[in-house]
Point group: C2
Chain length 231, copies 2
DNA sequence: ATGACTTTGTGAACGCTTGCACAAAGTCGC
DNA sequence: GCGACTTTGTGCAAGCGTTCACAAAGTCAT
């Protein structure tokens, strides 16, 4: 029951970030009836190099068969166990606005190791309403009479995010997924991941601008090109 | 007008990923009336170390004053220019479901260098309806009589994502933000960033499980503990 | 003006991540 | 059975990113 990686040493953070990609690809293959797959093929479906895939998997143990490849079902089960998806983690979404409702309506949670067990808002107009089969409560009610949750998803406006995070931590939540822009300051031992749309778009914009500048300046490597043409 | 970094050499990818964080912190400081800030303070508000902040900024040029810090407005302008946010990039959202509507309703675009200029769906019930002041069109109409777009946001179900991406690339879009789970295969020169909720949650679950296992095993650091108990 | 102090900018060291090369270990045809 | 072939798993080297240590360059009080 203890993941193999605890015996073999720790899994690098970069690898952890890719395991979900592999699991997703494997799940798709399984649904298509594929029972076995080579690292080359699985890697291309995951968007990584095959050497990287094999090194990543080597951190969990040897579940491949040389000359053949990996058993889809077995490997998926091993990765799922490594990620802790053999159980259903209880999730709360705080902030039932546009984004919170979209997430609550999203069906991709339950099949992947998570279950939304509570929805929270602080607007009296919203509290008490039923969204996707769950009655929206307040954070105070969640603390006193709500179900236990281990993962908190924050979809409130940015100014409320820090206070919400503090309250979630106070009731024992150690894992947070924050959609509100801005950096949360939290005690050690609490894991926060931020998803920021504006950040993603700005990174795209950077590369887009680079492409355009590369075209407009004839010789991007020449020091004279940009000062001449634009300045 | 050409970013300083083109003269000083290229900006590391990891730095590009953090520039939006700095810009966000600077914008907040500016709104609070702060005119000058030291790297230590700005770093803590961005969630990074001050040495990292300074090294990141050093790739764009020297805009700080030793002994004082950075001029908030000037630095924000420099980062905005570096990210290509001096113009408003036209964005199309494809897939007007729950998530697409939430994104369309989100006001955080316009102030940050982006403007939604088109909304697309393929459901006849949805096409022609007005969402947030824009009439929903089809991809075909976007190609023929729609406005020029440079960034495409994909919020369709996963099975449609690849086809949508191909069509967007065909009409000249080179930057994609994909919310559908799965890996998109696209020609070189096209920039794709994927945002996957399940992936983020699974990474959180991994660490959550690690915490729980660390508690259940009495002495995680002892070499004897795991070999003894398991092997 | 000067000296003490503050803060930036950066070369160098360190650690993590990726990619390469290849041995180990299996399958498959005959 | 055996040889040819396929594919995995991994030591090693190269590259990238982060952190450290410190000189350079400014401010400020006097
Ligand atoms: N909507 C998007 O597409 C989008 C995209 C990127 C980021 N975001 C971010 O996600 C967050 C939510 O976006 P949205 O569009 O859903 O906003 P919204 O205004 O529609 O919804 C916010 C909800 O949070 C609730 N709320 C406010 N303070 C609260 C508190 N202290 N406790 C509990 N609930 C509280 C409000 O009552 C409201 O229902 C914002 O921070 C936004 O910046 C949204
Ligand atoms: N809703 C969420 O919170 C959430 C979270 C994470 C990921 N996602 C992903 O985002 C995507 C959208 O989620 P959703 O909940 O909004 O789904 P949805 O079913 O509510 O909306 C999908 C929309 O896309 C449209 N569509 C389908 N095929 C299309 C095509 N070929 N061209 C144009 N439009 C097309 C549909 O008509 C529909 O309006 C899904 O891939 C989902 O997995 C959603």
């Amino acid at each position: 029951m203890v993941p193999e990686s605890l015996r073999r040493g720790c899994v690098p953070e970069a690898t952890v970030g890719r395991l979900p990609l592999y699991l997703r690809a494997l799940t798709g293959l399984h649904d298509q009836g594929v029972t076995s797959i080579a690292s080359e093929e699985l890697a291309s479906r995951s968007g990584v190099r095959s050497t990287q895939l094999r090194k990543d998997l080597s951190h969990l143990g040897s579940y491949g068969v040389r000359g053949v490849g990996y058993d889809v079902e077995l490997l998926a089960a091993q990765i799922a166990q490594e990620l802790g998806l053999t159980q259903q983690w209880p999730v709360v979404i705080v902030g039932m606005g546009n984004l919170g409702r979209a997430l609550a309506a999203y069906g991709g949670f339950s099949g992947r190791g998570f279950r939304i067990v509570a929805l929270v808002d602080d607007d009296p107009e919203v509290v008490g309403t039923v969204v996707e089969g769950l009655t929206v409560t307040t954070l105070a009610d969640l603390a006193t009479k709500g179900p236990t949750v281990t993962i908190g998803v924050i979809t409130t406006p940015a100014p409320a995010a820090q206070a919400v995070a503090d309250e979630l931590v106070a009731i024992g939540v150690r894992s947070l997924l924050n959609f509100a822009p801005g950096h949360l300051v939290l005690p050690d031992g609490v894991d926060v991941r931020g998803v920021d749309l504006a950040t993603e778009l700005q990174i795209l914009a950077f590369h887009e601008q680079r492409r355009l500048l590369a075209i407009s300046t004839h010789d991007p490597l020449s020091p004279a090109a940009d000062t001449e043409a634009i300045g």
